[in-house]
Symmetry: C2
Subunit: 404 residues, 2 copies
């Protein structure tokens, strides 16, 4: 799978809707079809592989995403899709051989555009499927070259009714180094860090970089740089490790070698496992905005685009996963996720299990991202056992959810 | 002229080789042809308007540039070309009427791509014409869309022998506020500030913006921001007003909302009227590079791309201009230029006069850039008088220079 969009540095580059993403998706559909799964695509490009074990019953859905960041690793998302496919196939065979007694059907999913690097927002496919984002709005999003999501997806098949889902499971690399340091194989994800995400515009005035005296300058890039530094230093004003902060995207206007920037547009991301810490960080940030406006003679517009508190995963799923890990003799620990995942959307509509395997040195969104083979294989065994339990009806109390 | 590439904010946008630049150039060629000038273009797109007064004699050349920065003002460069055209036309009529006795011919020039915002380096046309930049190298430069200078110029006329030039004169807006504050009409440019210009790459490592613990981050954008702030703060470590410093251009890779930057590429510009101050600023900057590499866990590559000390304009040209201003009763003062101009190249090959008129509040590279009508008109009178003196043979001691 990692030959699609392979990079010289040993990683992959498969941004959503790119040629490499489409190639991986085509390969994935072939894999499913060869093993007797029925392939369906919805209007936002999510690919489903369905296997009916109990005619007419709702589905246990498992999956993650095949798209990647630019110059990314081979595991982020792709591991979860491949693990889900193998787990589903294992359950299908176990059912045929009478080792599992299914009460539900099983399906695998590649959620379109989880990464959001080419088309914002991230988790686009699962957001549309769970009714959190309107289809038309998502299809109209453009990349920096002006290409829409609809264009990047290309010809769409006729829409079919959304899948009826009873429960969801996802496995992902940790993207941190807690599991590796604890020498633990399986992370049982029980909550998501709280987060505040801003869209920032720093507004100054164009001026000649050479001729303009320093006191007359209203340099938007100086103001933006003060803000990037302040955002980083927020972490030093709070207990060690309590706050993660970043700015990673920046547009400088006019971006000329001899004209001071009139405007800088950028993102700003604060995350914490503590809602109190996050609230304090937001207060401190507000003070910084004012200091910087005065110091650099700029104005700063900020728009809070995403904000959520500490969000729990349903405890039933965590408990099921704990039992499964114990039964398989795999070391395990409760863990929080800092990053968002498609399961963040799915957990709001159906019982959900979210699992982690270790990342070597916590490296992620980098070509050097890696996971030990033994951990990757243990993760598949773990997800297969969870799948067998879910297909047997565990966590299912009769409710189901029809995806958009 | 300012209707070409006019912007909603009252300025112009005519980057080199753009449709608006070509439209202005076509208009300018028409203006020259209507008044009996012979139009020639050289291989790098410099446009010359020639008027022969003394068959076979070398030329007094006057001009500036018609291209602009993005969202720029109406005066920067364009005023100098229009003033030169009017001054040349005035000299032609004065010769015909016997009020001037020419010993040299007169020509006007629009130097291609003085601004360098779309195609680096700046002063491209005059650099090629004076042999400082190879034609082939200049033609192969690309903009961010991959378009070459050769493509942006379009079909080129057959090359003709370069113009034989005896002397050069240019008038420009000050782009500072010294003249306005001194209530003086004409600046007699006698020297250029010393400058050091760097190309910088800050190298870090891609990582997840959320999941990566702060101590593991090697965030290139954090390093770059520390550097932008340090460059600004250098000015506070030196005597007030002694150093102008800036970063105005930045490329962030991969520029994704959830991936820390692996690399930031940017410019860095230091200028001073004192070579000692500039040397000290460069020393302080070297210390900052090391501090920032350690603090942000990044490596910084820097390449000094342009460096020059305090450069005098030939004293003969300054003295001629002083006599001319005195004769016309225009207030005048010696002044240095912080910005580069095409005359910076021309002064190295022929006797040169460089003049400034006031900029309102020193605003430049901004749509609000302006000059009072009375000052603009006085500048044309001044340049016309300088032109008459030059065409009469002042400053010309027999040497001339053939442009490439």
């Amino acid at each position: 799978m990692s030959t699609f969009g392979a990079t010289a540095g040993g990683g992959v580059e498969r941004q959503a809707g790119s040629e490499a993403d489409h190639a991986t998706r085509a390969w994935f559909k072939g894999w499913l079809t060869e093993r007797g799964f029925t392939v369906r695509e919805d209007a936002i490009g999510n690919i489903f592989g369905l296997y009916e074990l109990v005619p007419g019953a709702p589905y246990v859905l498992m999956g993650s995403h095949l798209d990647s960041q630019p110059l990314a690793g081979r595991f982020d998302g792709a591991y979860g899709v491949l693990a889900a496919a193998h787990a589903a196939h294992t359950v299908v065979r176990a059912s045929a051989e009478g080792r599992v007694t299914p009460t539900l059907n099983v399906a695998v999913v590649d959620w379109f555009n989880e990464e959001g690097s080419r088309f914002a927002p991230s988790m686009m496919g699962s957001s549309v499927a769970t009714g959190k984002l309107a289809l038309a709005e998502a299809l109209a999003v453009t990349d920096t070259a002006g290409i829409t999501v609809a264009e990047a997806l290309g010809e769409r098949p006729e829409p079919v009714p959304g899948l009826e889902v009873a429960s969801y499971a996802e496995i992902h690399i940790e993207q941190g180094r807690l599991l590796e340091e604890a020498q633990t194989t399986i992370g049982l994800v029980h909550a998501t860090w709280a987060a505040s995400k801003y869209r920032i515009s720093v507004n100054g005035a164009q001026a000649h970089t050479g001729a303009t005296v320093m006191e007359d300058r209203r340099d938007a890039l100086y103001g933006a740089s003060l803000l990037v530094v302040a955002v980083r230093e927020l972490t030093e004003l709070l207990p060690e490790g309590a706050l993660h902060s970043s700015v990673s995207e920046m547009e400088v206007l006019p971006n000329s070698p001899v004209t001071l920037a009139r405007q800088v547009n950028m993102n700003l991301d604060l995350r914490s496992a503590s809602e109190e810490v996050l609230a304090r960080a937001n207060e401190l940030l507000a003070e910084k905005f004012e200091e910087i406006e005065a110091k650099a003679k700029v104005s700063i517009e900020r728009r809070l685009t995403h904000a959520w508190g500490l969000v729990d995963y349903p405890s039933g799923g965590v408990e099921l996963a704990r039992e499964s890990a114990a039964a398989l003799g795999l070391s395990h620990t409760p863990i929080m996720t800092v990053a968002g995942h498609d399961s963040t959307n799915m957990k709001d509509v159906v019982p959900t299990v979210m699992l982690f395997v270790p990342s070597i040195q916590g490296v992620s969104h980098n070509e050097a991202e890696d996971t030990r083979d033994a951990d990757a294989v243990d993760g598949v065994a773990m997800l297969s056992d969870v799948a067998a339990r879910l297909v047997s009806g565990e966590l299912h109390e009769g409710d189901s959810y029809r995806l958009a």
